[in-house]
Amino acid sequence: MMRHLLSMDDLGPEEITEVLDTAAGFAGVALRPIKKVPTLRGRTVCNLFYEDSTRTRISFEIAEKRLSADVINFSAKGSSVSKGESLKDTALTLQAMGVDAIVIRHWAAGAPEQLTRWVDAKVLNAGDGAHQHPTQALLDLYTIRARLGRLEGLRAAVVGDVVHSRVARSVVRGLVTTGAEVTVVGPPTLVPERAEHWGASVSHDLDDLLPKIDVLYLLRVQSERMHRQFFPSPREYARLWGVDRDRLARLPEGAIVLHPGPMNRGVEITADVADAPSAVITEQVRNGIAVRMSCLYLLLGGEARPADDAGRAESGGREVPAGGRPRR
């Protein structure tokens, strides 16, 4: 595992598999009478949110608490940030307070990476501008693998407002890395041509693709980021790119529909599709907790010292100490 979780570009197929396999081990924690393990006792995690978020922030907070970490929530509103404090000064303050990990969401692309230069804490990107949202992509990959049994060789379409979407950048990258075939689809105003550099094909014909895919990933139309007009009206968007029952019926048997939330019901997805059995949207939310536990667990372990532990493993020293992997 790497030192920080900043971008899906940093994760190879083995690292993604490690995160997903570890998450599978954490999924059971949610089913227990005491939904908590003592692993991160004594560690402090700060959730630093410069942008509004409900599900990502709550999901991280639940993950941290289920690992027994001490949790500090710091949102830009109602904090020293609203008094004009810079990201650097906030970072140095957290550094001085001795936090072990910082989960950051920021409106500026690259802010999490910048943060790593100022603090010793592990940094987890919870979404930066239109750049990356790696834990979302990892929970999506986990959900797809749990439902379809594999990632390699799957055919996926990522549909809609790609240009404003950090989720799209992370998900496409994750799917391509794990061997899926990805097409990004949407109106030309919302699908950047450079998407081809992410390893995906670009299409502007959703109906042509529907019968040929295993995974339909619908993106939220991010009206709050649209400072000019990208399509004539939500109704027209829904007619051309929204998925309703008719379009759902054209998917092959067993195909699944994902959406990162929050949904604009009636725009990119109709209410009946959102609630259909092939829509795995609530599973995505549920799996998000286990995946974030996995990321925190893998990032916050002590530095590997292979020789140090050789005599200590309980089973007669037979075990090779885990964690003896090189770190980047």
Binding site: A24, V29, I34, S315, G317, R318, A322
Partner: protein, 182 residues
């Protein structure tokens, strides 16, 4: 000097049979027993003990698996280890949980296992069965059922091989210097 064999396949089988009798004697039968094998080699041992109990008493004894990774005390030192699945075959409230492991050494794994079990419910008792007790405890923990007491030096490795995981049943002792030299 190579690996020194201390238990052959038939010794392992005999030890597990005797331990099954001891478990029944201590608990006055097999009612309310749940065997929990500690991953990884405790799991097949728990299954074999459960099968022995069933053969003797004629009742089904549930056997499950316990992954203690998240309860270990060396996460700071060794970093994250891969996680395994924990499966409780039945509710453990009001039951006697018998933890099963291959080697008892420092006692730290057993401490972690007891904490893990407690998070799943409140058993009336927790007991411990191990195939080999090699000494060198670092915590006040002892086994209730022992296949073989094996005085060892800390520079030795005790290796338990099982048919299920390693292709054959055998317990050997190896000097760690030799392991390192290889």
């Amino acid at each position: 000097m190579g690996a020194q064999r201390v238990l052959a396949a038939e010794d392992v089988a005999r030890a597990l049979k005797r331990m099954a009798h001891e478990i029944l004697e201590r608990n006055k039968g097999a009612d309310g027993l749940v065997l929990m094998g500690i991953r990884s080699r405790g799991v097949p041992l728990a299954r074999r003990l459960a099968a022995n109990l069933t053969a003797i008493e004629g009742v089904e004894v549930p056997a499950g698996s316990l992954d203690v990774t998240l309860y270990r005390d060396d996460y700071d030192r060794t970093g994250p280890r891969p996680l395994g699945q924990t499966e409780f075959p039945s509710d453990i409230a009001g039951k006697v949980v018998v933890l099963v492991d291959d080697v008892l050494y420092t006692g730290r794994t057993i401490r972690a296992a007891m904490d893990a079990v407690m998070d799943y419910g409140r058993p009336t008792a927790i007991q411990l069965a191990v195939l080999v007790d090699r000494g060198h405890r670092e915590l006040p923990i002892r086994a209730d059922y022992v296949g073989k007491n094996l005085p060892t030096s800390p520079v030795q490795d005790v290796r338990v091989s099982l048919v299920e995981t390693d292709g054959a049943d055998e317990v050997t002792v190896v000097d760690r210097e030799e392991v390192a030299a290889r």
